[in-house]
């Protein structure tokens, strides 16, 4: 029976439905609903532009997620490199035809949506690496050929994204890529060496940063350096979160955001607004929802048979973790402000699209978890 199911590439629809991870869907719906309330609050309790757009995007991309969840995992596998190449092409397109906003060139105008290819690249790198390491024998992983290749694969998109400039996304892409290299089993010493190398080259790296990036990093170490300029965001964000207290100021009562002290409140600082209004308890609940989400994704990886699925799920879980961690740590003043959205919560089509896309691949791994993908 089991044998049959493994070999039978045609699962019955009922089987598929049975394999769906409903808890994962529930978590997505939960975080999505919270995000609607949060975006609604950023508009001062008015049902207008951002809220409407966010709801539309959520429903469209959630539907897309549901549909794409039934795409076979082997299809994702087959198209992994294609995905990566399309991502690269889009990134290069941005370089030449991108739309600029506040000093950065990150978007392509697709008429119905301003697409941010760097967001898609986050997923593309993970799926591409998952496929790459799926085939490689553990004994070969330590060879130079298989070390250099993924590094090149990683450096190209990171370089392109830094050029936009978008340090935050670039770091997140690199982070998820490195996570998969780690998962694949590369010797720890390489990580230690490159970590040391990074530390040594840090002064050099800082010297080539853009002035605004430098000031952000300096500000991170001392927000009071320029309280009305670069330090403003961190200071105001900390005030908002701190003043929220245990129970928060209440829904629609966050004075820091309502009175416009908070910058970028629907995008990067959405957590700040949420935390101000719902307090410590709300923040911890939201954090737990993300932890559960990550746990469920890891769980899919654990029950999957193929390395591709495992690597993808673990990699994607790490990526989600990184997004959440970097964003929250940033608004709490633990990391420099680098511009990283909070998955699902933050307003922004491309980010939401890539997360939903990533989740649909996870779901397809779950539904087709017994599917074997040829190693050769």
């Amino acid at each position: 029976m089991l044998r049959e199911r493994i070999q039978a590439s045609n699962y019955s629809f009922l089987d598929k439905l049975r394999s769906v991870d409903y808890l994962l869907i529930l978590l997505i719906i939960a975080i999505g609903s919270i995000s609607i309330f949060a975006i609604y609050s950023t508009e001062g309790g008015k049902f207008s532009f951002y809220t409407k757009n966010h709801i539309i995007r959520l429903s469209v991309f959630f539907s897309l997620f549901l549909v794409l969840s039934f795409v076979r995992v082997s299809t994702w596998y087959k198209n992994a490199y294609l995905f990566y190449i399309v991502g690269l092409i889009l990134l290069i397109t941005v370089l030449f035809f991108g739309i600029s906003a506040s000093g950065a060139k990150r978007w392509i105008n697709l008429y119905f949506i301003n697409l941010q290819p760097s967001e898609l690249m986050k997923i593309a790198v993970i799926i591409c690496f998952a496929r790459y390491y799926h085939r490689i024998q553990s004994s070969d992983i330590q060879s130079y050929k298989f070390i250099i290749q993924p590094i090149i694969l990683l450096i190209i998109p990171c370089y392109l994204v830094i050029q936009q400039p978008d340090l935050g996304t670039s770091i997140l892409i690199a982070g998820s890529g490195i996570a998969i290299i780690w998962l694949a089993g590369l010797n720890i010493k390489y990580f230690v060496y490159s970590g040391l190398l990074l530390l040594v080259s840090l002064p050099f790296a800082i010297s080539i940063l853009k002035p605004y990036q430098k000031s952000r990093i300096l500000t991170f170490f001392n927000p009071d350096r320029d309280p009305l300029g670069a330090g403003y965001q961190i200071i105001q964000s900390k005030i908002a979160i701190g003043s929220g207290g245990f129970f928060g100021k209440g829904f629609l009562k966050g004075t820091q955001s309502y009175l416009e002290f908070l910058p970028e409140k629907h995008t990067d600082f959405i957590f700040t607004l949420f935390s101000e209004e719902f307090g410590f308890i709300g923040s911890i609940i939201l954090l737990l929802l993300y932890i559960l989400l990550i746990y469920r994704i890891i769980n899919v990886g654990l029950v999957s048979r193929s390395f591709f699925a495992k690597l993808y799920c673990f990699g994607f879980a790490t990526a989600i973790f990184l997004y959440v961690f970097v964003n929250i740590a940033m608004v709490l003043g633990m990391l420099p402000i680098v511009g990283a959205p909070l998955p699902i919560m933050s307003y922004g089509g491309s980010s939401l699209l890539s997360i939903m896309l990533g989740l649909s691949i996870v779901m397809s791994c779950k539904i087709y978890n017994q599917e074997q993908i040829s190693v050769y």
Binding site: L183, K238, F261, F325, I328
Partner: protein
Amino acid sequence: MLNRGRNIEKGRVITRRMFILAAAKILLFAGISSRLYNLQISDREKYEILSDKNRIREWKTPPQRGIIVDSFNKVLASNDRVFQLHLILDEITDFDVTIFKIKNIIGLDQFQIKKLYKKKERLKPWDTLVVSDNLTWEQFSKINLYLHELEGAKPVLSTSRYYPYANDLVHIVGYVGDASPKDLEKPEIKENFVPGLKVGKYGIENSQEKMLIGNYGIKRYEVNASGKRISQIDYIKERQGKKVNLTIDIEIQKYAQELLNGKAGSICAMDIYTGEVVAMASSPTYDPNKFTHGINQKDWREIRNNPLKPLINKSIAGLYSPGSTFKPLVALAALEYGILDPNKTIRCKGHKHPYELYGVKYHCWKKEGHGYMKLRNAIKQSCDIYFYEMARLLGVDKLSIIAKRYGLGTNVLGDLYNDEKNGLVPDTKWKRRALEQSWYLGETVINGIGQGYIQTTPLQLCLMTAQIANGGYKIKPHIIKNDTINYNDIINKIKLDQSNFPLHERNYLDDINIEYYQRMYHKKSNINFVLDAMFGSTNEQYGTSYRSRYDDPKYQFAGKTGTSQVRRITDLDRELDLDTEQIEYKKRDHALYVAFAPYKDPRYAISVIIEHGGSGSKTAAPLASKLIKRIIDRHKLREQFNNGNTSLA
């Protein structure tokens, strides 16, 4: 099979590494949670305060200044309606354009515009700039007409200090102006200050700041990040300053000021029992209303450069030799110490045979001499020779004790006026200390006619006269009404004490600290002698102020003239014997007069000083005479009003 084993191995590696990663994730999430705990629970209070600081901004609203009234409750300093133009800075997109438009509408000059730019630099972007705090009605209506074109402009109806009796009171009430950094150091101003608030600069306005300033109100607004007011949260209403009630009678004050018109000098009038200062005029004077909104250069120069020095409050800050007005006190001292029998006769032989002491000659003012004089006549006719001899016998130290006792040599009104002078009553100790010289007998001699080192203010002379006139009782002069004391009781007590004498005679001469409303004399007969001599001086032929007398007992007064030399009289002067008009103004004598009225049952004392006015009998006494009539005419009214019948005012 080999492959399979490898695959299992690879799967294990992936899973193991995943768990290591998961552990790291948990750690990092724990880090975030503890950070959240720190911010939201440990430091919550700190951030709550910061959040409130962000969103709540306070605006202080200025209080109205307390009013100042005279003893009949007539308003001497009020708060008048003024038209102002304010600019709300955060509503203005282009400051230059707005100022240009305003300039064209109300007509500002280059200097004023520069000042506005300077002022703006000191303000915060959400503050209000006061463009003008005193617009004319015409300017104000024009602004209202063009208001739609002026971003951020706000025509405001406000109040500002107004002095209805302007020039007549400036030396008493003072004036207000913008607070200087020094003013802001005073605690009463520091605590209650609001930008733009005017503070007292001189006089009652200055010394009674604590009463007058009031308490500011607070308007709390919720503001957004750009400082725009969203809603009012709280409004604590401002409280007007308290009323200050003066003892001045504005009618008398006005008249006194009128009498001094065109002259430099002072007139003081005082209730001899209560010590209430009824009038305290100083001339020339100036308009305090000009200071409220900042005096312009031209007016300021005019006041500063006036040779008669309007800025000096001559009643308390002008120092004069008392001249012959000091003689009654010298006589009193001599009698009290038993130095001299009032029947002692001394011959005044005129300028040819002056009084001589160790080869120095001391002349009487009367060229021909007074002839044989007894004490009463010497006071009445103001014979200098008699007083030279009496002072010599008395000695300066005893004289100084009595002079100080009767109010000379110390400031009269306490700390009400920061420019009030103490004057100087010299004695041997003082000279040794201050000048490091020993005292010469010759100095005692001229001290006897109120010349030499002795320096008094007009108000001190008035107090001296009052304390002799009330029968020798110590009073407490004041200019702010004191409701805690029942003056009728005090008057009755003093009068009773007067009539009971000599039942409890005491040797007061060693008594240093005499309490208020207690007798200061040793023998009542001595006081009476002096009062009688002063009566003679005014109401008998040959008396120095005989020409200014009233025969009607209702107005009849007694006084003493004085002529105070501003320089040493030379033999040449004596030879020339010029009339006052023929002498250069600066070298003319000061004319003085002190008096009390009515003679029977006196109630008021008065002192008059006309700088460089010539002789006291010609210049000062006639003014005193006129004022005394006015004071006595108003006495009944004052009495009734003070006894609670306020409807009369």
